[in-house]
Amino acid sequence: MPADDLTGLEAGRAAENAARHSYGKLIACLAAQTRDLAEAEDALAEAFALALKAWPQNGVPASPEAWLLTAARRRATDFARRGRTRKDAVPRLSTMIEELQADETAERPIPDDRLRLIFACAHPAIEPAARAPLMLQTVLGLDAADIASAFLVSPAAMGQRLVRAKRKIRDAGVPFSEPDLETAPERLDAVLEAVYAVFTQGWSDPAGADPKSRGLVEEALFLGRLIAELLPAEPEPKGLLALMLYAHARRGARRDGEGRFVALDAQDSGLWDTPLIDQAETLMMAALPRGRIGRFQIEAAIQSAHVHRRLGGPTDWGAIVALYDSLLAVTGSVVAALNRALALSRRDGAEAGLVALEDLAGDARLLDYQPYWAARADLCDRAGRVAEAEEAYERAIGLEADPAVRVSLQDRLASLMGRSAF
């Protein structure tokens, strides 16, 4: 391979690496004063394009981050000067590259303002549905079309949603600052909920037995780690990260050899990712003594109880029911109530679970909520209520979007019909 190709490759890799690790830092830095995220993104995109031209010729700079930041700042000034029209940009490129080369000595460490950026993305003024997508775009540099698919939204609609949110940040005075979490703990909740929304996109099962991700799991874990690191004194970010790690640790056990769905109960715990579970347990140990229990720590504790059987003992359903009681008290959510009913059925039998489900019946949101029908089918099946089980299985099958889960429900329905035919 000729030497210049090698340099090109190396430069390309350096640019890619900087894009992956520094994107959010650079955006946060660029937009900290102006709060203009769209402009920061444009400027940074131009800086990356410039790097791909300059680095193969002149070598990778000692601090790619600092180089990119300087380049992006100049582009931003350029845009401003030219009223954001980019005509005549090309002839100036070579001059700029030279200037940047000369500037390399003036290197300062880049401040990490990502936390401010993250809090701005999840600000109460931003519509909740835009918060997670905005974080994915500005902190991680994800493409709007990919984000749209993950959230099952058309790319055009997602593009508009993101533009609206950025306009709000720029024009409505959404601050780029870390809120006082003592007085406004809900600001952190909004951040964590957005990160969890990234993680759960595409999960069909609220208990986390089957996180069939549409590819955003790694992104959610990155954000979760980042927030836990940047807020070391807060227990809830640790709880969220632990929750995601427990669920992610089971990814290898969720499908059998033929790609069929395997429920949590039936999973081979030997296929779970032990180091990830250990990481999660360590995080829990660090979070719990802080004495401020929140939704994510409780959910992580439930996951911890579920994976406990890897040590050989039976699952402690009593403990899990108690944890769901606490979760329900904190969130009051349908999902928590549903999972509490399922856990209760493991402790006290299927009929007890059905009684608990009765509390939910009549909620209009359940009409198209697949997990409710799947839970009901399971409980009626186990309780020997054949006709009701049959109807609930049908509803669950009809509402399921994941083909593997659909097939597993169809198998269970067929088995019920086979048994009841005698």
Binding site: L152, V153, S154, A157, I397, G398, P403, R406, Q410
Partner: protein
Amino acid sequence: MQYMLLIIGNADLVAAAKAEDMQALMGAFMAYTKAMQAAGVYVHGNPLKPAPTASTVRLKDGQTRVLDGPYAESREQLGGYFLIEAPDRATALDWAARCPGVPYGAVEVREIEVIPGHNDRAG
């Protein structure tokens, strides 16, 4: 608002499926239809006979011509449709994602254009 879900089948994917998969697919479509009815979104829907049975009418050199087969040669052909009533496109997309036909092709979601008085003329 009403949306048309156009169920498009890919001939290669359908041909590669096992007989029992096709049987499961039929059952899944029945369950899907029932779930839409129970949720109050279903207006109507039907599968179509296979694309090779289609006839296509075109005007060629000022002459009306009838051709055998679908209007476009493609491995992907319209195989059925559902008309649904949904509050917004996001809900329509949720239902499209649940369609059991997705693994065998695609589902196109089109909003129905409302022309005032258009459906009052019959009678």
